[in-house]
């Protein structure tokens, strides 16, 4: 199954030292000709859903048919998410980086015959830059990639995540070997402190300080201690951690082992969302392969240090992303947050000192140990070092996963990398931090994307979801959306969260129907304050943020709902009417046939009309109309 055992004869390779690992890397690389072409097919979740598995199958068949399999090594490589999801399925030809987008299985033969055999590009599969109109050959020249700085994601899209040989060839586990051979646990912690790394899960707590506190707690409480990966990425619109776990599982594992070494932990846990089956599979494969090579388990690299890890599959509860809820879940109970004013580093899993970091944070650790904190600090800005991975979604041209140094302006991500809003208008707002975060309006598009600047603007970094909204998105509707989300996901234990979020949502429901008063807006703010102050855990205390920031920047839009019974964005159903523009309607009847309430009438080839009393405002007619004749007012 895996290439490891065949290519490397793994039974010969129980690694016992840093030198062993280097030798293995050398041997893998020596068996590879860097000039041999390699066909790389993206098997990220986005591309898979768009049929990339069929594309890689077709390429394999075409390759076999052409009888040149030996020339292409190692055949077709499938990788984790390459990021440019809106253009998938993606196929890359290396070396060179020729970039094919929206590839279909029927393109396979042509790719093999033209590109591989004759060295010519298949023009229709190339990326055409919408801004300049230029056709671009190579991945590295496409603005979406060119403007990024892929540090944490450096391996993703290059390696086969299910083959540890690929990881080792790319330098995987070198940081671990370096630490075990020549660094004390104390030095590892010092490196992390000096790097300035802050937690990528949301709040941005300094990772080094967390580790230091855990060491202190161990002084009084002793061991066992635990290291835990928070892979319960639940923010809607976020898929950074998923991509890292799927595309470079060894990076997470190596980071975790380093953390375990620093703390003297013998056991670790990876808590991964159930909705991420591929991530779980790749992590499991990675663990098996790392154990086989002696990089995980008993006596790692013959250093005397032993550590192993178990995966806990989440069972569907957003609140388990909260640290104490995650611990109670690992312990086999409902994921209610713990009512305790004790930090997890002192009393975490099983009441023992525990370091919990999120996936992206762990994936940063090998980079810091491998290349040193001074190298790391050069990335980003002084109080937010390093890079951050964002998922860029919503009303933006280049939907996908991007990595940039901390401190770049919002506009650089949304407009330069993301290509702006479809249609070319400026964006209305960017929502960061998911249900716990807030929004950045267009007027603040120069806000630097780092922990402190985003907080100052009333939002937060969160785990890294960036949801772009345009003028067709209503802030009242978005506020309702997040509240409903959290209402469903609240554990329900404390009253401010269980009752307060429902009440806030009810007030917004009224607004969306044009009911309510300015007094209700004041009540909403006061209740939001009570929820922030009173809730038991971070889910509840941060829940009012989306509403509070939209009230801060878009109060007029709230007032339009309340005072004028209008929804300027044309979203809130009870405040809008659908009509058909008789000048544009061709009488094709397709809307009338689709209307679920049969309230569109008219003769064939004559303009149709909507019975607004009967209309349920589902919007299907507007979606169906090919002539843009259905209007919302």
């Amino acid at each position: 199954m895996s290439n490891v055992s065949e290519a490397l004869k793994i039974e010969d390779w129980r690694l016992t030292s840093a030198e062993d690992l280097k030798a293995l890397q050398k041997q893998i690389l020596s068996g590879r000709d860097p000039n041999r072409p390699e066909i790389v097919v993206c098997h990220g979740t986005g591309c898979l859903a768009n049929g990339s598995e069929k594309v890689s199958d077709a390429l394999r068949t075409a390759l076999a048919d052409a009888g040149i399999e030996a020339k292409v090594m190692p055949g077709i490589k499938t990788t984790g998410c390459q990021g440019f999801c809106s253009r998938g399925p993606l196929v890359l030809i290396r070396p060179g980086g020729l970039f094919y987008q929206r590839v279909k299985p029927k393109d396979a033969t042509e790719i093999i015959e033209k590109t591989l055999l004759k060295g010519e590009p298949v023009k229709r599969l190339l990326y055409k830059d919408p801004a300049s109109g230029d056709t671009i050959l190579n991945e590295q020249d496409i603005p979406f990639y060119k403007l990024q700085e892929r540090v944490v994601l450096h391996n993703i899209g290059k390696i086969d995540p299910t083959d540890i040989a690929d990881t080792i060839a790319a330098g995987g586990y070198q940081a671990l070997a370096k630490a075990l051979a020549g660094m004390t646990a104390e030095q590892v912690v010092e490196h992390i402190e000096q790097s300035g790394l802050r937690g990528r899960g949301g709040a941005g707590f300094p990772t080094g300080r967390k580790w230091r506190s855990a060491l202190k707690a161990i002084e009084t409480k002793g061991r066992p201690v635990y290291v835990v990966v928070n892979g319960d990425e639940g923010d809607p619109g976020a898929f950074m951690d998923r991509t890292i776990m799927e595309g470079d599982p060894h990076a997470v594992l190596e980071g975790l082992i380093l953390g375990a070494y620093a703390l003297g932990a013998e056991k670790g846990y990876m808590y991964v969302r159930a909705e991420y089956p591929l991530a779980i599979k790749h992590l499991e494969v990675a663990m098996v392969q790392a154990r086989e090579l002696g990089l995980l388990g008993e006596n790692i690299l013959n250093s005397g240090f032993s550590f192993d890890v178990r995966i806990n599959r989440g069972a569907g509860a957003f609140v388990c992303g909260e640290s104490t809820a995650l611990f109670t879940s690992i312990e086999g109970k409902p994921g209610n947050p713990r009512p305790k004013y004790v930090r997890s580093v002192e009393e975490g899993l099983w009441g023992r000192p525990t370091i919990l970091n999120n996936v992206e944070t762990w994936a940063n650790i090998p980079l810091i140990i491998g290349k040193g904190p001074d190298w790391y600090k050069k990335l980003g800005v002084p109080h937010s070092t390093g890079t951050k991975v964002f998922s860029l979604v919503g009303k933006v041209n280049n939907v996908g996963l991007v990595e940039v140094p901390m401190g770049v302006p919002v506009s650089a991500i949304v407009e330069d990398i993301g290509g702006g809003v479809p249609g070319g208008q400026p964006f209305k707002a960017v929502q960061t931090g998911g249900p716990s975060g807030g929004c950045i309006p267009y007027s603040l598009k120069d806000t630097a994307v780092d922990f402190d600047s985003l907080t100052k603007a009333g939002s937060m970094m969160g785990s890294g979801a960036m949801i772009v909204m345009d003028e067709g998105d209503c802030v009242v509707d978005v506020g309702r959306y997040f509240l409903r989300f959290l209402e469903e996901e609240s554990c329900g234990k404390c009253l401010p969260c269980r009752l307060g979020l429902s009440r806030m949502r009810e007030i917004l429901d009224n607004f969306s129907r044009g009911r309510g008063s300015e007094q209700d807006i004041e009540d909403l703010i006061s209740l939001a304050q009570a929820v922030q102050d009173g809730a038991l855990c971070a889910l509840g205390s941060s829940a009012p943020n989306p509403v509070l920031t939209t009230l801060r920047y878009f109060k007029d839009e709230y007032l339009a709902h309340v005072n004028n019974q209008t929804c300027p964005a044309g979203v809130c159903k009870e405040l809008i009417t659908y009509t058909i523009d008789p000048g544009l309607c061709t009488g094709c009847t397709s809307c009338a046939r689709q209307c679920p309430n049969n309230c569109i009438s008219g003769r064939k080839k004559e303009p149709h009309t909507i019975d607004t009393d009967q209309c349920i405002r589902c919007g299907i007619c507007r979606e169906t109309c090919k002539f843009d004749a259905v209007r919302v007012s």
Binding site: E488, S526, A530
Partner: protein
């Protein structure tokens, strides 16, 4: 002893006490619903929130679970504290309109009515879970528990059917702060109400 202040009054507490325990010892009033001295505090009702001040900075904590610390400056009647209390009482009046206990307590803190819509006029359980904690920690049976989550959270026995794990000790009924356990107990026992009331006495 640990010395600190509550509402600018000097107080001393035993190590391991919570702010609430200290306040009660000194007769300083802090409202609670889900707290009971016989079980571990759970911090669910949040009525016991107090404000901790430190210079210009302050934060709200649940006094039933906040351990005392030397020199902390605790306040029980600030604007922020009262805002949380008022909203919780208002929401409880709308959620548990059938609970006389809640109505009385809310009135003591000046909340006599609510503008919020009442969805279930017969409801009196606020799902604080005190009954289940007593059943687990004191009685040691875990015949009942908090089921489901979020707005659907409820008290009951597995599969919401009568359970023979329950020995009808009535502890849950006696600790219930809202008077809700009477009727839930019937469901758990599968017995008529009269019989149950006798047992509880």
């Amino acid at each position: 002893m640990i010395d600190f202040t509550i509402n600018n009054q000097k107080v001393s507490a035993q190590p391991g006490w919570t702010v609430l325990e200290t306040a009660r010892y000194y007769g300083i009033d802090i409202p609670t619903l889900c707290y009971h001295e016989s079980v571990k505090p759970s911090g669910a009702c949040r009525l016991c929130m107090v404000e901790l001040k430190e210079g210009d900075w302050s934060k709200l904590v649940a006094s039933c679970i906040y351990p005392v610390q030397e020199g902390i400056d605790v306040h029980t009647e600030t604007e922020r504290v009262n805002n949380v209390r008022r909203w919780i009482f208002e929401m409880l009046l709308a959620t548990c309109p059938a609970s006389e206990e809640i109505r009385e307590m809310a009135a003591r803190y000046g909340v006599v009515s609510t503008q919020m819509p009442v969805h279930d006029p017969d409801q009196n359980c606020m799902v604080c879970g005190l009954c289940a904690r007593v059943c687990e920690e004191v009685v040691g049976l875990s015949a009942i528990a908090v089921m489901d989550r979020g707005v659907h959270k409820k008290i009951g026995s597995p599969f919401l059917r009568p359970t023979d794990v329950c020995v009808a000790c009535g502890c849950c009924v006696s600790v219930c702060p809202t008077g809700a356990m009477q009727s839930i107990f019937d469901t758990v026992r599968g017995k008529p109400a009269m019989e149950m009331t006798q047992l509880a006495v």
